[in-house]
């Protein structure tokens, strides 16, 4: 990605930068709530942005696919019904995205822009969003994006990117026209000097060198095709309690339900987050359920993430952020499952295929 320009923001000036971003825009940034939990939240004040957060628990997908979204409102009278679309979304910035979260946005973009019906509500929000990523030198223990080939210092697919330098300074790289449109927020800061440019290059070099043996996602997809009926799934589902924690907090999971919210003759048709882990997800009105037990549902999660997504859209539906590992109430670890899949493919039998 061709960098248009780079500015240096001193630590004391970050709230100034964030405050300027908030002029005429909503800003979604990592914040810490009263319990000390780090989440992506819409800022009410620039000081609330918490730069000590790496992987905020609630991912940035809420900026394009809110947990609840009004698809349209309606009013009903006898013999006549009127429908009104929601107001167009306001300009927004998502600030401080870890590069794995940026790749997750790319997964969502791929699904929601796919033919035959691009998802206009998602695309409308996406069109007015500026993504400002942020680089990380070290990761929390549950983050495994490097194993998927995602470099936590890489600025690809961002409109702007913050590289951490010494003494808390941040180098702001402006990468696209959307990034350049934030000029009034960053023009007060000095451009990067030769020393800064060298530091940035060094940070990138060090980070890239740590990606030595990424998992072969294409091989995992091929392996999964051979083990659909394996008894691996009997074992994997047993500790799973079938809640929605992993899916709701996954930055690429996007399944949703459409429901009515009605009061009298007025209401709205909304979409809300949903997950294949709930047994209601595939249950027919007749009572028939193609995925009757947690075994089928746990298998579906892994298959959709690592096989079907790759097969259909040529992109894995996992970016290695590790949120699922951090939040799973049964302490499942998807890395262990991937390892088993890798090893199992060697002993798969023909009848294990679909």
């Amino acid at each position: 990605m061709i960098t248009k320009e780079i500015r240096i923001i001193p630590p004391a000036e970050m709230p100034v930068f964030v405050g300027a971003l908030m002029q005429g825009r909503k800003v979604l940034a990592p914040t810490r709530n009263d319990d000390g939990l780090c989440v992506f939240a819409w800022l009410t004040a620039p000081e609330h942005a918490d730069w000590a957060c790496e992987i905020p628990r609630v991912p940035p997908k809420q900026a394009f696919l809110p947990r609840t979204e009004v698809l349209f409102r309606y009013h009903r009278e006898k013999g006549k019904e009127t429908v009104s679309p929601p107001a167009p979304p306001e300009p927004q910035v998502v600030l401080g995205l870890h590069p794995c979260d940026v790749q997750a946005v790319k997964v969502l973009d791929t699904v929601f822009s796919a033919e035959p019906s691009p998802d206009q509500p998602y695309l409308a929000r996406r069109a007015v969003t500026t993504l400002i990523g942020r680089g990380f030198a070290d990761d929390e223990s549950f983050v495994f994006c490097r194993e998927l080939g995602i470099d936590p210092m890489d600025n690809r697919d961002c409109d702007a990117f913050l590289v951490p330098l010494a003494a808390g300074r941040m180098a702001l790289e402006i990468l696209t026209d959307k990034g350049a449109a934030l000029k009034q927020a960053y023009e007060r800061f000095p451009p990067a000097g030769a020393g800064d440019l060298a530091a940035i290059a060094e940070a990138r070099k060090l980070s890239a060198a740590r990606i030595t043996q990424p998992l072969d996602m294409a091989a995992i997809q091929r392996n999964l095709e051979t083990i659909f009926n394996s008894d691996l799934w009997d074992r994997i589902h047993e500790p799973c309690v079938g809640c929605g924690a992993c899916a709701f907090l996954c930055p690429t999971c996007h399944c949703f339900d459409i429901q009515e919210e009605t009061r009298g003759m007025d209401g709205a048709r909304v979409r809300v987050w949903d997950t294949c882990q709930f047994d209601l997800f595939t249950r027919h009105a007749s009572g028939h359920n193609p995925r009757t037990s947690q075994k089928e549902r746990s298998r579906q999660r892994i298959m959709h993430k690592f096989s079907y997504g790759v097969g259909r859209f040529h992109i894995p539906f996992c970016v290695g952020c590790g949120r699922c590992i951090a939040v799973c109430p049964a302490h499942n670890d998807v890395r262990q499952i991937l390892k088993e899949i890798h090893d199992l493919a060697k002993t798969a039998k023909p009848q294990d295929r679909v």
Partner: protein, 296 residues
């Protein structure tokens, strides 16, 4: 009940699975994140070459202060099988609850009791034990066939905790503010419900559409409706094990409200959930000597 026999965890697991007395052994193993333990579900070997796998798994069994999950929640996955299960004091009360409600058959259960001083709070980097553990009245299991440790002392506890006392004395505005704040964190992932051994309905009220008991939007009222209804269903049945609180990915403080209801049940009915298999939860049955004064 005969005195439970003191045994070593791995020895008893190996013995029960090899002799076939247990079809399934449910215990704990170390998990990948610091200060956490995951369930370990071991099936009895059905073929000679599965024996090695069973031995390897038994070797991974642990019991220490990382073992925070309530494993009784998994019994419903193994109905009609003989199950050996490791239970702490709090978990043993959940077993009693299921026995009271005829959800499990005592003869299918081999209960491996684990006296416990409390589980460390991984969110505090292990510096403290969980609130549920500080307030626990049953460090020693109330029902067990075997014990995998010596009984531990049971500290005296206040009738009502200082936090509960403060909340009850607070103004309605303050209480609403706290309730609203907790409910605003909830994302309706249903981890709390799915972790609870007492929540075993095949189709939960939250999943019903006729009628639709509550919505799933991000308006706090939807989270409030879910939790209020679930709480009422748990009235007199919740043992306060805290599995729901520990599993919540958003740190919603459900315990405050569960505890409030539990202490009311104790006050009004003199009843503690999950202590005596022959007892009946007061809100799940009626007797001819029930209080009638409120009927005019």
């Amino acid at each position: 009940m005969t005195t439970p026999k003191q045994v070593d965890l791995k020895t008893i697991a190996r013995e029960l699975l090899t002799t076939g007395k247990a079809d399934v052994f449910i215990g704990y193993q170390a998990a990948t994140q610091p200060l956490t333990a995951a369930p370990l579900i071991i099936h009895k070997p059905l073929a000679p070459d599965a024996e090695r796998d069973m031995v390897r798994k038994v070797d991974a069994l642990i019991f220490d202060d990382r073992c925070e999950m309530n494993l009784v929640n998994y019994l419903h996955k193994f109905k009609d099988r003989n199950v050996a299960i490791v239970v702490k004091g709090c978990d043993s009360r959940s077993v009693v609850g299921l026995l009271q409600e005829k959800q499990v058959d005592r003869k299918n259960l081999i209960i491996i009791g684990a006296p416990c001083r409390g589980v460390v709070d991984r969110r505090q980097a292990g510096s403290e034990i969980y609130t549920a553990c500080r307030e626990c009245p049953v460090h020693n299991p109330v029902i067990a066939d075997y014990l995998i440790g010596a009984p531990v002392p049971q500290p005296d506890l206040p009738e009502i905790t200082p936090e509960m006392e403060a909340m009850r004395k607070a103004s309605p505005d303050r209480r609403w503010e706290r309730f609203h704040k907790e409910m605003s964190k909830c994302i309706l992932c249903y981890a709390c419900r799915n972790l609870c051994p007492a929540c075993y309905c095949k189709i939960c009220f939250a999943d019903a559409s006729k009628p639709k008991w509550g919505g799933r939007t991000d308006d706090p009222s939807d989270a409030m409706m879910f939790h209020l209804q679930r709480l009422m269903h748990l009235g007199g049945r919740c043992t306060g094990c805290g599995a729901c609180v520990r599993g919540c990915p958003m740190n919603v403080d459900l315990r405050l409200y569960n505890d409030h209801l539990r202490s009311h049940v104790k006050q009004e009915y003199g009843f503690m959930a999950g202590m005596d298999p022959a007892a009946q939860p007061p809100l799940a049955m009626y007797g001819t000597d029930d209080c009638n004064e409120f009927i005019r």
